[in-house]
Symmetry: C2
Subunit: 673 residues, 2 copies
């Protein structure tokens, strides 16, 4: 295995090199003297630091996750029962710590209130102290399982206990703290717990594994961080044992746990979507580090099948509310899409690992779709409330499950009884820069187009772009080593499909550039000051769905670049369910001249969080039902609507910004004429 | 309230009279010397007696429901814990007893093996004995709540405890045994338990109610049976208190229990579909007996809204697996339709009561749709295995939840951990004759067209028909009283829509008959031997769905009369998801000359349970996906399929008979050209 000491959250190396971490990539977050240079990912990251992370630490304090540790430390456990219903609530602390390790390592923005980072540091120090002291002498750590009257018995139920899942998130936080802050306290805790797991479940232990995959990728990263191959071996065992039937399942069936067949025999992503995504990510790590080409090929087949048959147009995953699960191939209902925010995060983790392992650009197209839609929609514009499930449609009289965990609240919620998503957002947003570029000794590859400074052995560059809202990408070389060979830019698939062309100039000279398999590869010689301008044909376009998708037959989704748009009721005069899409204007530029009556208002354009600032325009006609009958007899030819249809223009806002105004109906898929 | 001692299971009286019971209606079941005269409902009832009821009694014995009573009776309770996970498993015994009370009262068919009825009687006697002796001295009865170490504490959790639900089913069995067998043992038990409930929750008791409605209709029927108005009053209190917020809900939200608003303020059927249907039925009983016209009007609005916005084309109810619940209006996914068999039974109970209360024929159109589709599909052709949920589509690689309760087994199952549906089928099938006709002193009204002998004060008639597979209905008067005025026959709505006409003759003479609001009303004078022949235009027809239904946009469902048809993979050469329906032949007669290559085979036609015996023919073309892409860009105009489309004919079998051959893909809604 590799012995490099990586600083990005995924320490793998592949054909294009290894991911660059926060020491090498700084997102432009608009906090400096040039706010106009900020990019969307940088703004997200700043929002995460300023709003989401403080909110999540407050909520965790209020919910009692820290008290679950404290009671074990201060001797009050007998009087203070475990708080919460689930045995995995420690992981909300761990995921938050993982994100905070990044934020505490990141330099403060100019003018940032010192109280902000002080508050984050307080939580970090308090939590690390509690976690460290709560560990049992044998290395065990799981507050639901410790103390005089525990919620559960240790190692009694690996299917549902989440104990190794707890270890996994602990380990990821520990690796982040070690790499980012040079703080080894959590790493020592994680190693002790992992050593216990190696003893219990290693080659000489019980042939078991956790019902919720997660620990696999954490153990591989721990092996990368420590150089200890036992952790990699344990991860490999966990991947290989899955499907052996060794777990005892209750309530949920083996498919839910991806435990009905061995992973290598699984023919399609199955069961609980978050579990499946984490399993795919961990197994990819194992395949890479053990050089298991068969396993990697199989994981690529599963990924390709997933995005070809089981993914929403938003990149969302999980069609079923019961089991929070993938459904059948092409089972993709809009209104009851589960598409859990955590599933998008897990799938991006999986896809990123597959990309690093293979260099395949098309995988990043799907990761980008998840990033700008299925993931981003999970967070409110102000960054302090969350969707758990992310449907693609909301009906006008949507029936909510008040008081339930996950049933489509009218708007995003501040917290959940099972709060897995919010701290997952915190760590993912804090790690965004780790997914922007990879490099080896001679080539720099920009994987995600976003505004950032990027340093690497061969080249340092500055990327300036308003992507995904704007198609212009300017890459300026700020330093070139003598060994620098290629600057490789990812060109999204949609940019060269449907007759679209991109334009490239280098230092003002046009280049007849054709991307090869998604990569625009530019050769040197390189010098500081070289300026590459990429103009992506960011046009509004319509997609339909595969004919086997019943849920969206006869409907159209509108995208601009990787951003899926939707129609919110407040932007239409007629009920959104009555509207039929007639057309869009490909050249419609939300930040330019509106083509119709409903372009972005100047006021909205000033607010980057405003849905209307990034709207596109569609032409629609209203076709209300001819009768109230639910199943009218088919008449041939159908009755023509009375009178001439009146074409009106409506604004379609980015899906990831829906639900930030008053509650109303929403559709991603619009009826088609 | 009425003081008549009724023998039908619903002892209500309405504008057309009161329902005729098993003393008055005998279904032709094909067991006599003239099997050809049998009707579908009669054959179902015979199958229930010969196959389903014996199967269910065996399964109940095996599952331990009787042991739950026995342990309380024989002193073994301390050593023998309650068997099963749910607190309502007594009701499986009660529902079976309700059905058996009908079967034991029914004369044996000629040539019937005496061992059959002896076996049913053994179960009945054993169960009645155990139930009677298990009752606590204070009248309480609920085996999960009794004994030294009960599963639950009595009256501790009305939201989830199902204790009054237990009382409800006990009471319905008791009323059936009293009416059919003149056996008052269960009635005494039920009255003691009901008296306890009156004391606890009557006007002077706690203002609570059961989380699962059911007891309301049972209490009204107990009042009708005993003449004791306290039971009616308690039912009224339960209906009126619902939505007061008095129940403490866990796991499921108040909507699940129809407890978020008072029933009179509910604007659409909501929550758990079985609970909603039972609540509707019980509230209708209360409205009728308390002459509460406002409540009845409100219930009619709820029903009308339900069938206009929340019912599947099969009459199935419940779009959501999570919560087993209704969804939003027009949220009707085919593949994940929940459409629980019990919800169809509950809705038929509700609809029948609304019909009796109003005389509205259109309500029976929907009841009939439920009967021949959503209900009937729940049982296998041989009558011994069951669907719990009833989707309208099965994909070729349908992912099952192995081991789970309700998640779409490959085929119907013999039993369930929550076996509510099978015994519900037993009692409903045993009571079918109670839903065929109503009469008052001068008029006889045939509500459901099926082969039967019907006796009433004004007229005795014999109905001969193969309906719903055949449109010819012959009604022969076998006795006429001097007071006889009208013979009223229900004409289903589809028979006079789309330009279709029905033909009627009386003693051979054609009648220019036009039904009025679904009723063909024939006036006397009547004499024995008068023969009315009704020819319904039973044509194959296509329906589409309301434009707000996303799940079935661009698709067509094929019906013949009230029977919904579907395409099973074994009847098509191409994948069913690739087929586009071009047309049907309205005059296609499955029992006559096949119009295409795929008519009923002679062998199949001999077997009334064969799906192919009742198939219709559709013309289809195969349109496989142009590419494997999940979301291809919309090109305008769309690429034309290569070559001339080849039209083939496929057989569409009745939906209620699907899944009786090998497991494969199935679609009710076919893609439309």
């Amino acid at each position: 295995m590799t012995t490099v000491h990586p600083t990005a959250c995924v320490g793998a190396r592949g054909p294009l090199g290894r991911p660059l971490g926060p020491d090498a990539v700084r997102l432009h977050d608009g906090s400096g003297p040039e706010p106009a240079r900020s990019g969307l990912l940088g703004r997200w990251q700043r929002r995460n630091r300023e709003a989401t992370a403080p909110h999540v630490t407050r909520e965790i304090r209020g919910a009692g996750n820290l008290e679950n540790f404290r009671r074990l430390v201060d001797g009050t456990a007998a009087d203070s029962p475990y708080r919460g219903r689930y045995p995995f609530l420690d992981t909300d602390v761990y995921k938050t710590l993982e994100g905070l390790a990044y934020e505490l390592a990141r330099p403060a923005a100019p003018g940032e209130d010192p109280a902000l980072v002080a508050g984050l540091r307080d939580f970090y120090e308090e939590a690390v102290d509690l976690v460290t002291r709560a560990q049992a002498p044998d290395g065990y750590l799981g507050t639901a399982f410790q103390g005089p009257d525990p919620l559960r018995v240790p190692w009694d139920d690996l299917a549902w206990g989440h104990e190794l899942y707890n270890l996994g998130h602990l380990t990821q936080a520990a690796v982040a703290a070690s790499r980012g802050l040079d703080d080894r306290r959590l790493l020592e805790v994680a190693c002790r717990f992992a050593d216990l797991a190696v003893g219990r479940y290693g080659d000489d232990g019980e042939a078991l594994y956790c019902g919720h995959p997660e620990v696999e990728m954490a153990l591989v990263e721990l092996a990368r961080e420590t150089g200890d191959g036992r952790y990699l071996r344990l991860a490999q065992l966990f991947v290989d044992r899955r499907g052996s039937g060794a777990l005892t399942h209750t309530v949920f069936p083996p498919e839910y746990f991806q435990d009905h067949v061995p992973l290598r025999e699984l023919d399609s992503v199955t069961g609980h979507a978050v579990r499946m995504a984490y399993l795919g990510a961990g197994a990819t790590d194992v395949a890479v580090e053990t050089e298991d080409a068969d396993l990697l090929d199989h994981l690529l087949r599963l990924w390709d099948d997933m995005v070809a048959t089981k993914a929403y147009v938003t990149g969302g995953l999980g069609a079923r509310h019961s089991d929070e699960a993938f459904g059948d191939r092409y089972e993709l209902p809009s209104e009851r899409a589960y598409a859990e925010t955590c599933a998008a995060i897990g799938a991006m983790q999986w896809g990123w690992r597959l990309f690093v392992a293979t260099g395949r650009a098309d995988i990043l197209d799907d990761v980008e779709l998840m990033l700008y839609n299925a993931y981003a929609v999970g967070l409110s514009a102000e960054g302090t409330s969350f969707f758990y499930d992310n449907p693609l449609q909301r009906r006008p009289d949507h029936e909510q499950r008040s008081g339930a965990e996950t049933g489509g609240e009218p708007l995003r919620r501040a917290w959940f009884g099972c709060p897995c998503c919010p701290p997952n957002v915190v760590r993912w947003a804090a790690e965004l820069q780790d997914h922007v570029a990879v490099a080896d000794e001679r080539d720099l590859t920009i994987a995600l187009l976003t505004a950032a400074d990027v340093r690497s052995d061969p080249l340092d560059v500055t990327v300036e772009t308003g992507y995904p809202y704007d198609g212009r990408v300017v890459v300026t070389v700020t330093r070139a080593s003598g060994d620098a060979r290629h600057l490789r830019l990812r060109v999204p698939g949609w940019a060269t499909e449907g007759g679209r062309r991109l334009a490239v100039t280098v230092d003002g000279g046009a280049l007849d550039a054709r991307p090869d398999a998604g990569w625009l590869t530019l050769s040197g010689p390189w010098r500081s000051g070289t300026r590459v301008v990429l103009e992506l044909p960011l046009q509004t376009r319509c997609v339909v769905s595969h004919p086997h998708v019943d849920a969206t037959r006869g409907a159209v989704a509108v995208l601009r670049g990787p951003v899926v748009h939707c129609l919110e009721q407040q932007d239409a005069a007629a009920p959104v369910d009555d509207l039929v899409l007639v057309g869009v204007d490909p050249a419609d530029r939300p930040d330019g001249e509106p083509t119709g009556a409903a372009g972005a208002s100047p006021a909205a354009a000033d607010d980057p969080w405003s849905p209307l600032a990034h709207a596109v325009t569609a032409r629609v006609v209203a076709r209300p039902p001819a009768s109230g009958r639910l199943y009218p007899e088919l008449t041939d030819p159908p009755a023509a609507p009375e009178g001439e249809p009146v074409v009106t223009r409506v604004r379609l806002v980015p899906y990831h910004l829906w639900g930030n105004r008053e509650v109303g109906a929403m559709r991603v898929w619009l009826r088609r004429s």
